[in-house]
């Protein structure tokens, strides 16, 4: 598929409701959210992730069998990748192309992993109603990120629990854990990368 500049974006079209105007509106909405998120606006970032989760769910449901428990796993894995790789988004380029390229990569990666492990791959189906633009109702993920998180080493797990789950400041977390402030920031960053790596390693 080509975007207006003739660039190859994804191997299959992203789910859309077809009209060019709707596509443009979607792009500019998400793009504006991402630009504010990149500048540090947490509320915009949260809104973007919620919106992206719905679109990713529709994207994966259109490509995996509808009842597949992989869908929510892939949504979560992709959101984690979006977060860990958000520094690779260039605001001069379309946000949806970036998002769906990550989703496509995660889908292919999962199927390849499956093939390598000689498990039965989920059938790729084309079903018409999977062209819904977004899908808000989440099934439960099969893979439990909480358990994977709990297995991280302390210097990564503690910063994530304090800063990202309990919502404490970096300074407070540093005081509570005895880590330096930079160790807390690095712990969060590396911990989320390590979490993504463990997600890939988990079957």
């Amino acid at each position: 598929m080509n975007d207006p500049d003739g660039n190859r974006v994804t191997e299959r079209p992203a789910p859309t409701n077809n009209s060019k105007a709707a596509l443009d509106a979607r792009e500019s909405h998400l793009h504006a959210l991402m630009v504010r998120a990149q500048a540090g606006d947490e509320a915009s970032y949260r809104t973007l992730l919620v919106d992206a989760a719905g679109r990713l769910r529709a994207f994966f449901r259109a490509r995996l069998s509808r009842a597949s428990g992989d869908v929510e796993d892939l949504v979560q894995e992709t959101l984690l990748a979006v977060h860990n790789q958000r520094h690779t988004y260039d605001a001069a380029r379309p946000l949806t192309a970036w998002l769906y390229a990550i989703a496509q990569y995660k889908l292919v990666d999962l199927l390849r992993r499956r093939a390598r492990h000689e498990r039965n791959t989920e059938p790729l189906e084309d079903d018409a109603d999977a062209l819904a633009e977004s899908d808000a109702d989440a099934l439960d993920a099969r893979r439990d990120l909480t358990a994977l998180l709990a297995a991280l080493p302390d210097k990564q797990r503690l910063p994530i629990e304090h800063v990202k789950i309990a919502g404490r400041s970096v300074a407070e977390t540093a005081r509570l854990t005895g880590l330096s402030e930079s160790a807390v920031k690095i712990g969060v960053h590396r911990g989320l990368k390590a979490l993504a790596a463990r997600v890939r390693a988990a079957p």
């Binding site: 003739g6 984690l80 790789q85 192309a97 800063v163």
Partner: protein, 213 residues
């Protein structure tokens, strides 16, 4: 964990994102890789004692410009390949341009030479070692390139690492060019290109293994 809880976790205290992270990462890798190649070249091979004479030869500068242009072209492409959703539809031709230009110079040189002098232009005196020397010097930039790519998001790891390998090879060739006594374009067009292709092939092999994210 529910997806909503994951979103809360990711958004909580996310903070601003480093600007121009891709450019900064590759700039660091190019500087570190080139310094690393120099740190190998100077003790192992040393600068060419004939360098003051060589720099007066246009063909010396063709060789250096070829390596620099190829490194720059590959760098442009690998930086694009490191970002999801960014295509290399047009920019990939940049990589072919320095090679095409070099081969053009080589063809002129061969055409201008006497028939029994052509083999010497192609084979020079160091063809046995040249590609391997370039491949050796390309290892520091190759490692730096993998470091850069591992912090980014190549959706085609094999291609990204191959282009990164060509960039590393061109940087290795650039540095080796200050030791190497050969300047004839036909020689460069064969043996330098082979030397540069070795880290490119290493990238093809290592990319899918080292660049998953």
């Amino acid at each position: 964990m529910k997806t909503a809880a994951l979103i809360d976790l990711l958004a909580q205290g996310a903070g601003p994102v480093e600007r121009n992270a891709v450019a900064k990462r590759f700039a660091t890798a190019v500087v570190a890789g080139t310094v690393g190649a120099l740190a190998l070249m100077l003790p192992i091979y040393g600068p060419n004692p004939q360098l003051p004479r060589l720099v007066g030869e246009p063909e010396f500068w063709i060789k250096i410009a070829f390596a620099a242009a190829l490194a720059a072209a590959a760098l442009v492409n690998v930086a694009r390949l490191a970002q999801p959703g960014v295509a290399i539809a047009r920019s990939r031709w940049l990589v072919a341009a320095p090679i095409a230009a070099l081969w053009l110079f080589a063809a002129f040189a061969l055409a201008a030479a006497a028939p029994d002098g052509r083999a010497a232009l192609l084979i020079g005196h160091t063809w046995r070692t040249c590609p391997f020397n370039i491949a050796l010097l390309s290892l520091p930039p190759l490692a730096a390139g993998f470091w850069a790519l591992r912090g980014l998001a190549p959706t085609n790891p094999r291609l990204a690492a191959a282009v990164g390998g060509v960039c590393a090879g061109a940087l290795g060739a650039f540095v080796y060019g200050f030791h190497c006594p050969e300047i004839a374009p036909p020689f460069i067009g064969v043996w330098y290109v082979i030397g540069i292709a070795i880290p490119g092939a290493l990238g093809v092999w290592l990319g899918p293994r080292l660049l998953r994210w």
